[in-house]
Every structure is written in C-alpha cells, then in structure tokens.
C-alpha cells in the first residue's frame, strides 16, 4: 500500500463506522479541496453512492464561482443537498463589517446549529485536518458536542486504537472527522491521483491564487504562479506559509479561531 492508499483506507474505515453507528448522519460540504476529496472518498466507501445529505452553510458572501461549482457537482454526483442559512441574521444585515468573529459566529456557527436542529442530525461529518491549525490538531475522530453544539476541548473521550465513542446523551451530536490525519499536500496529491474536480479559484490568476477558500470579504490570496494541481504540489513542497494565512478571521485575536471552535464552529 502507498501512503495515499493508507490514508484513504483509514478515511473509508471512519466513514463506514459513522454510517453504521450514527442514526441521522450528514456531511458538511464547502466545495473546498478537502471536502471535495472527502466526498469522493464517501462515494468510494459506499460504491458510488452518497447515502446521506450534504450540508452547505451558505453565508451569502461566498464568491459566485463557488456556488456555480456547488450546483454543477450536486447535479453530477446526485447529491441530497441541504442549504443552511441564518436568515434572521442576514435579514438584519450581518456582515464582516460588524466584526469578523461576530459574523462567523452568526453566519456559520449559528447557521450550522440551526440546520442540525432543523433536520435532527445526530452526526455531522466534517473534513477538517489536524495540520490546518492548532485547535484542530487536538481534535478527536469522533468528537462529541453538547446540545448547544459546543466543543469542550478539556473533556474529550479517549480513542483506543480505532474504537470510537458512538453513544451520546440525547440532544447532543457528534462531529466525525475522517480527514484529521491528512495534510494539505496529501489532499492535493489525492485530488491529482483521482482527477477530482476543484474550484478554479485555487489556480493562479494574475500571479495570485486562493490557498484556502471562504467568504469573499475575509479570504485573501497568496502570491503564486501555480495554475495546475501539479504546480500547486510543487509549490507546497517548498512553502513555509501557513495554509490559513489568508483567513482574516483567525487574526482578530491570538485565540480567535479557538473561541469560534469552542462555540461549535467546524
């Protein structure tokens, strides 16, 4: 087995555990490179099927290229797409100008909480990786959330080998993280190996590209000439710039992202 084969086998094992053990399962899909790789592996794990709904948390501030991509893939891959929006906050004009953390909390964290409650999901698959950011480095594969969706980093269950906690108190839900053990470059190598479509925003236009995708006002580009997946891989083999360098909400305070995650952010 190659390194990518081993990563894929572990991810498929986790996806199948989630599908076997969790009643009402859904997957967060942001159409970013990680969730594209993950969704492809869902189809491989279940032999061409996506046997649960995929959730898009729509902040209304994402670049149009992303929504076009969403609609194309959702149709081609026959996805059961659930779009979650915090309509109340949007109606009151919520945007990053009121504070990036406040905006993220309302349009992403709260919108996700509302969507989970509205559909009664008891498990949500999310394509986060441990190498992205410090608080994600500490995540569990099966990570319990309380009834309000909160994440308590101090009281996480032990994971003995691949035996995960799959029972939870009523009202709580679990986040399942099948990509924790992947790195950014692993994901790109996998996307290349399997010829998985990705949003064009990742590729260089006029000497800059997006390394991580998010809302248009809060996501920056990096200088790059990489215009293909192969060139992105070559670039990542040499860079020391962190992946989320372009994500402005992380920089509001030393522990900005940590506080977002404690509140239930993905």
């Amino acid at each position: 087995m190659t390194h990518l084969d081993a990563l894929e086998a572990q991810t498929i094992h986790i996806l199948r555990e989630a599908f076997a053990c969790i009643d009402r399962l859904a997957m967060l899909w942001s159409f970013g490179k990680d969730s594209q790789a993950l969704l492809f592996m869902v189809r491989r794990a279940f032999f061409g099927h996506v046997p649960f709904p995929v959730i898009h948390i729509d902040t209304s501030y994402e670049p149009p290229e992303m929504l076009e991509f969403r609609d194309r893939i959702a149709a081609e891959w026959k996805l059961d797409l659930v779009v979650g929006r915090n309509e109340a906050a949007l109606a009151q004009g919520m945007s990053h100008t009121r504070g990036r953390i406040l905006c993220c909390s309302a349009l992403k964290t709260a919108a996700l909480r509302q969507t989970i409650a509205a559909h009664g999901f008891t498990g949500v698959i999310a394509g986060i990786r441990r190498d992205e950011e410090g608080t994600r480095a500490k995540e569990r594969v099966f990570s319990p959330r309380d009834a309000e969706g909160r994440y308590d980093s101090r009281h996480q269950p032990p994971e003995f080998w691949d035996h995960y906690a799959t029972e939870f108190p009523k009202g709580a839900h679990v986040r399942i993280h099948p990509l924790l053990h992947w790195t950014e470059i692993d994901v790109w190598r996998y996307l290349a190996r399997e010829s998985i479509p990705v949003v064009s925003l990742y590729f260089s236009q006029g000497g800059r590209r997006y390394r991580s995708l998010g809302c248009a006002p809060c996501t920056g580009t990096v200088a790059s000439e990489a215009s293909s997946i192969a060139e992105i891989i070559t670039e990542l083999e040499q860079t020391r710039i962190p992946e989320r360098a372009g994500r402005l909400q992380d920089r509001e305070a030393e522990d900005a992202f940590e506080r977002l995650r404690a509140g239930g952010h993905m």
């Binding site: 084969d5 572990q10 032999f47 029972e167 108190p169 940590e258």
Partner: protein, 651 residues
C-alpha cells in the same frame, strides 16, 4: 488581503543533519512514522518538540515571531513550548492539555509527532495519542531523573504495543553537561524497562532549550558518541500492516444500495483473494468470495491487511456487523471468557461484577468483569489484590461475555486482540486479550456429522424408572483438586448403592484410561475431556442411572454445556451442580497426590488454582463446604440431597 509571500524554507540556527532538505518536485509516496512524545510534567516535552520543528526548518512562516510576541506580552523569556501549545488554557497554565499532532519532514520521510500531555489529569489524551503511534519518544529531566510519570508513560507505551522507544535525557545544561548524571538516569530507565519486559531504550543526552543533540550534534557533550534525537528517530520503523498473519476481516457493514449485496470492512490481518472460502465467526457460516468490489478504480482479485474493501459472496448467507471473516484453517478463538490487561480511564472505578459494553473491532457485546486478579500501580509496579481499579490504573481481569466472541490473543493477533470498554456512554478503558488458560470453544461447538435422525426408543423413561426405583440424573461435582470430590463421590456411591440406587462414579481413572486416553491437560484438552464426561453422564442418566461425576471441571461454560447435554435428551434425567468447596490454601495443604507441590515448582503446567483458572459456580444446586465439615458430614449432606431429589419407590 494577505501580503504573505512564498519563500523557500530556511535552515535553522543550528545546521540540521539529515533533516529539512525539501525535495522539489518529489511526488507522492513517502513513508510516514507516528511518534508519540511523553514524559513527566515539566521535563520539557513541548520544548523539545518546538525545538525539533525549528531546527528542521519546519516551523510555519511567522510562528517564531508570533511566539516571541506572546512571550513579550506575558513578560517572560522566549518559550519554545508555545509553538505547539496552541490553546489559550494551555498557554496560561503552562501545561499541554491535549494531544497535538505536528507534522515535519526529513529527507528520508515524514513524521507525525504527537505531543502528549504529562499532567496526570490528562492521561486519556496520552492514550489516544499513543494508541495511534508507531514509536515513542520519552523525555526525562536529567536533574530530576526517572519520575512517576516517566515510569507510568513507559508502562502505557508498552501496554499499547509500542515497542520502539527513544529516551531524551533533557536539560543537560542544568546538569553541567555531566556524563555521570546521564549514565545514572540511563541505568535507572533501562532497569525499569527491563522490569516491565521492554527492550532497553536508546538514550540521548540533550538540551532542548539550547538545541544540543536535537537536530545537530552538540560540542558541549563530547563524551557522547551516539545519535542525535533526529538520527534516533530516523532509526524507527513504521509498523507494517499485518499481512503475514492469518486473515481477519471484521464485518463493518452490509450494503444493499443496488442489486449487489456488499460485505464491507477493513482487512486487519492477512490477505484474501477472489475464490477463497471465508468462515464467519462466531456464526460459523461459510461462503466463497465472488468479487472484490471497486468504484472508479481498477478491478482487483486480491486484498491485504490495511485495506478497506467490499466483497460479494457466492451464497446469500446472513452475516452482519461484528462477525469476523477468516480462512477456515486459521480462525479466531471462540470463547465467552478470557483474561485481559485493562487500562482504566473511567470516572467510576472498574469493579468486579460490573457490566460494560465491549467494542472489539466492529463487534459490540455485553460483558461482565468476572474477576479482578490484580491491580497494578504503573508508577511503582506495586500490585494490590483489590476488588476495584481506580482511574489511571492497570488491572488484570477475567472478562465474561453473554455469548461467544471471536477474538485473538493479543500476542498473536494484535489488531483483533484488543478492545475498548464502554461504561454508559463513555469509553472508559482499553485492553489486550490473553486467551491463556481458557479453551477455544470452537472445537466443542462444531457439529461434524450431518443427516442425524432421532431414534425413538420403545422403552420410556417411566418404564426405566419403574425398573430402577428412581429417576435418572447427574450429580455433577466441581471443585479444586484436594477439595474432596473423589473421596465423597466414592463414599456416596457405596452408601447409595446399599440403599438401592443404581449409581456409578465417573472420574479421572475410568474416563482418562479409556474413552479419553488421547487427551492431555491443556485448556483445549481439558475442555474436550469434560465435554465427553458430560455426554457419557447424560447417556447413563438417560438410561435411568444416577451418575456422580468427580472432576475439577474448572470452566463455567463447560459445566453449562454438560447441563445442556443432560437436558437435551429430554428424558426424566436431571442435572445437579454440586460445589465441593474448600479454600485453595487448605486444598494445597492437603495435597493428597502431591500435585500442588509439583505445580508450585513449575513441574506441572496449567494446574487449576495455581497456573490455570478455577471458576466457582455462581448458584450451585448444593454447596458442600469441606473446610467446615468432616468427610462423614459432607457425605451425609449429599446423601440427604439425593434422598430428597431422587426418592426411591416403584410407584
């Protein structure tokens, strides 16, 4: 917008040896090794990790500057540990709360470092990190030496199956770079490792804060000629998948998304190929592999350990999540009882008699802690014979399940020989299985003859009873060697015969010299011995006789099987479990055949009570305490029981 620029990696302050050189254009397939970092609180684990990242040129852009700024705001000197201690709570308390996964690379391969906590409060995080690792890096403060957590962590790494260990003897700068201090710590550590059965570790004198012997050799430790930490890490091997062991494919799920019925699971050990006949345990069903299913991948006819696969079978047998597929020649052990070493993390103590849910691969079963043999304090290896294990302790236990489980001994099948225990909703412990001392119940279950038809006798149970004057039955004695089974059985046989009973004693002499002469004393043979005794006793009883069986019969499951055999014949025969009871110490003192002495001297192995388990009956039909009663009184108890339950008289 971000003004970040792409730059090439810099070398660290100290020139790293083999590390940090990127391979432009390198494609894909590099090995990666997971290393868990452990050690006593404040001995410098996070500092070592921070330093290792820096010295191998693996720190993200701006991280060192960010840490400098954090420290300045707190009015403290530069703190390497802040690089990895990403959570605010940790930064303020100065301890690592949870496991942090950190990636770095050398020219030869990629590493994942699991920066595990040293605070006693957070041991379950260490377990989570260590259970997923290939190797361990233990950090010890040179001045403080081997401490409670150093020992505890080394013990846990060994328990979790991590055989490769490097020990960093840290803070050599504070120990005046003294060779004598390093030698003393090395001696202590290796002595402890030897006492828990681990191979001696590679020890490296370092100063993580100063960067000595981390990635680059230190000029301040000229007396040390061994590898740096980085070179020692390069010596670790990633654990290879278990392709050489017998096939184990735990069934994870059965999918019927379309016309296919796909059995899905990960191959935990061995290999399989299309056309192989699979045996599913514990159900015992078999079928051949028709296809290995793939999706957007090349067709294939074989699969091996580590792969998550799906197969279809030639017969539509009913199998479900939790069964284990193997080849028929080398199946897992089937048992409802086994020994285990458990590391307990539960909020409530692990108690004798308590029930838990056990997860073993994909199987989940209700289990009970039948016995706690001992509790080990991993800090000093002291052992306590207690009824409960508190959190963070290790216990050797006997676990009993409601039904048969398909398991492996951890030493021969590590991936299918380990499990987690769930208390309520929470994973409360993990353990490794030892099948030593208990028989594989598979040979006892297998019905090899087919096309059996019951023959209906023309002599009824009532007619037999009319002839003998009493109902047939089995008086099944059980008890330790020396408890008095044979003495009481022989005396009862004589007394009952004189009273008019058709009675006969089955014992080791008459069974093992004939019918069972091909059996020895291994757990498997003992189980087969008792199975045959049970069947013979049942036939005699069905024929109308009163049978006294006088065997140790140490296993509860064997006695249950004997009871079922007697009841299966559906005659008037009944089964009575009689516990001939005496404490081990008294039996050993009596030692009528000198066997205890031989067992204690190691001249007999698998001796019940000494080197093999005895499971006392929970609710025997009669209890005869030979420590309290004379032989005559004990015999009288049995005779009295027989008179009440098998009244004489031709109706």
């Amino acid at each position: 917008m971000s003004e970040a620029k792409m730059i090439r990696p810099r070398r660290g302050k100290t020139e790293p040896g083999p590390a940090s050189k990127p391979e432009p254009g390198a494609r894909g397939e590099r090995n990666s090794v997971k290393v868990v970092v452990a050690g006593h609180v404040d001995h410098g684990k996070s500092t070592l990790v921070g330093r290792l990242l820096h010295d191998t040129g693996s720190l993200p852009e701006g991280k060192r500057e960010a840490v400098t700024e954090m420290c300045r705001r707190r009015g403290m000197p530069f703190e390497w540990a802040f690089v990895t201690d990403a959570l605010r709570a940790e930064r303020d308390q100065g301890i690592t709360i949870d496991v942090s996964h950190i990636w770095f690379r050398t020219s030869s391969r990629d590493y994942v470092l699991l920066d595990a906590p040293g605070h006693r409060e957070f041991l379950r995080n260490l377990v989570t990190g260590a259970a997923a690792s290939d190797a361990g890096l233990l950090v010890i403060d040179a001045a403080e030496g081997v401490r409670e957590q150093s020992r505890r962590h080394a013990f846990l790494l060994s328990l979790l199956g991590i055989g490769q260990l490097v020990v960093a003897v840290n803070k050599m700068d504070l120990a005046d770079w003294a060779e004598g201090r390093f030698a003393a710590v090395s001696r202590d550590m290796n002595a402890y490792l030897a006492s828990i059965g681990m191979a001696p570790a590679r020890l490296v004198p370092v100063s993580a804060r100063e960067g000595d012997n981390i990635a680059a050799r230190s000029a301040r430790l000229p007396w040390y000629v061994g590898p740096t930490i980085l070179e020692a890490l390069e010596g670790f091997a990633a654990a290879p998948p278990d392709t050489q062991r017998p096939l184990r494919l735990p069934v994870q799920d059965v999918y019927k998304f379309d016309a296919r019925r796909i059995i899905a699971g990960r191959v935990e050990a061995g290999r399989l190929a299309v056309g192989d006949r699979l045996l599913f345990s514990p159900s015992g069903k078999t079928a051949r592999i028709t296809t290995i299913e793939t999706w957007q991948a090349p067709a294939r006819r074989t699969a091996e350990a580590g792969e998550s696969i799906g197969i279809t079978l030639d017969e539509q047998i009913f199998v479900e999540r939790g069964e284990v597929a193997s080849h028929a020649e080398a199946p897992p052990v089937l048992t409802d009882v086994f020994r285990a070493r458990v590391f307990w993390l539960g909020e409530r103590p692990l108690e004798r008699g308590a029930r838990y849910r056990m997860k073993c691969q994909t199987a989940e079963s209700e289990v009970e802690i039948q016995a706690i043999d001992r509790v080990i304090d991993t800090a000093d290896l002291s052992e306590r014979p207690v009824a409960a294990a508190e959190r963070d302790m290790v216990a050797d236990v006997v676990i009993r399940a409601r039904g048969l489980l398909a398991v492996d001994d951890y030493r021969t099948g590590p991936r299918t020989g380990r499990f987690a225990l769930v208390d309520g909703d929470a994973i409360a412990g993990g353990g490794t299985i030892s099948t030593e001392g208990y028989p594989d119940q598979r040979p006892l279950m297998v019905q090899k003859s087919q096309n059996l038809r019951a023959v209906s006798h023309r002599v009824s149970a009532a007619m037999r009873r009319q002839r003998t004057g009493h109902a047939g039955g089995v008086l099944w004695f059980t008890g330790l060697s020396g408890a008095g089974k044979s003495t009481i059985a022989i005396a009862c046989e004589q007394r009952l015969f004189i009273e008019g009973y058709q009675v006969y004693v089955l014992d080791g002499d008459n069974m093992r010299q004939g019918l069972n002469q091909n059996l020895g004393f291994s757990p498997d043979d003992r189980a087969e011995n008792i199975r045959r005794v049970g069947e013979v006793a049942a036939l005699f009883a069905d024929a109308g006789m009163l049978i006294i069986s006088a065997f140790i019969a140490p296993y509860r499951s064997d006695r249950e099987r004997a009871r079922r055999s007697a009841e299966r014949l559906k005659g008037a025969a009944s089964f009575h479990e009689i516990y001939i009871e005496a404490p081990l110490a008294i039996c050993e003192e009596r030692d009528p055949k000198g066997l205890y002495r031989l067992a204690r001297n190691g001249k007999i192995s698998d001796f019940t009570g000494i080197s093999a388990p005895y499971e006392p009956p929970e609710t025997p039909d009669l209890r005869v305490d030979t420590a309290a009663l004379t032989i005559e009184a004990a015999v009288e108890r049995v005779i009295d029981y027989v008179r009440r339950n098998f009244p004489l008289g031709r109706s």
